[in-house]
Amino acid sequence: MACATDSDTAPTDPGPIPRYELKVVVTGGFGAGKTTTIASVSEIDILTTEAGLTTAGAGVDDLNGLSNKTTTTVAMDFGRITFPEQDIILYLFGTPGQERFQFMWDELGRGAVGAVVLADTRRLRDSFVAINWCEHLRLPFVVAVNRFDDALPYEPDEIRQALDLDAHVPLMVFDARERSSAWKVLYALVEHSLQQHSIRQHSHPSASGATG
């Protein structure tokens, strides 16, 4: 766990502080490449922060043998990108993929530009939780299939069908280790969010939150 305080070393001049802060969520099943994707575009080394959760014991792994309440620590990786010309700082958060932490993701998702849902063709089911979560929060998302090997065993259309994706949701194949590839995914997400934003503005100006 990296938690160095490097206040002694003079940082390179960060320039003026950007006025706007935005966030994007990178989500998907365990091992789908969340941290790799963020590391490909982040201007800082990936940081890890711990969100401690106190939850009722039922259905949750008991860590310390405590009877009723368990404190579970969920590690979140994140990075950031500064756009000085645009006066924006963009944070990218990798969410823990487990379903039981969904309530914590909600804080993360609120106010986000959108989400990148990473899909691993070997474990497509893992992406369902992430997709459901985006839909629940009405968070615009794109699905990015991480190409682990050179060959992709399925056609994008087959993956779209297997994930039961709406036609308007962008699906792309990319390589999380490649910076340019990860940039394209981010670009596609923001473009999609912008489209969704204008559709929502025109169709239903007072959209209320999801029920239940």
């Binding site: 502080i17 922060t49 958060f93 473009e191 934003h197």
Partner: protein
């Protein structure tokens, strides 16, 4: 100064907050903090309070970055930051809350991304 004494487990961070688990201020993970008008640290400041103020002198760090750099859970960091906001040592860069992703900002963001493609 990370706090990683395994023998103390999860207890120590909440000793730092004197048992408080809920921050008084609405702080998002991406809320950024900058030095406030006043210098004073809170009553009986901990080393962590001072470390937070020092970090924010360097740059406007977000709640998530401060938490990661000090090795403290997010919730604990938020409580300590609340003390510092109350004392005037720190203040929120955007007091109205984190920026909403409005259309004009997403357009700007697209410009920024296009430049790097």
């Amino acid at each position: 100064m990370p706090i990683t004494d395994p023998a103390l487990g999860d207890v120590r961070p909440y000793v730092l907050t004197q048992g408080r688990t809920r921050p008084r201020h609405a702080l998002d993970l991406i809320s950024r903090l900058i030095p406030g008008e006043a210098d004073p640290l809170p009553f009986m400041p901990s080393a962590e309070h001072s470390a937070l103020v020092d970090l924010c002198r360097d740059s406007a760090f977000s709640v998530s970055e401060l938490s990661a750099r000090l090795g403290l859970p997010v919730q604990v960091t938020k409580v300590l930051l609340g003390d510092l906001i109350d004392s005037g040592a720190l203040r929120l860069l955007n007091p109205a809350g984190p920026t909403d992703p409005e259309a004009h900002l997403m357009e700007k963001l697209l410009d920024g991304l296009r430049y790097r493609l």
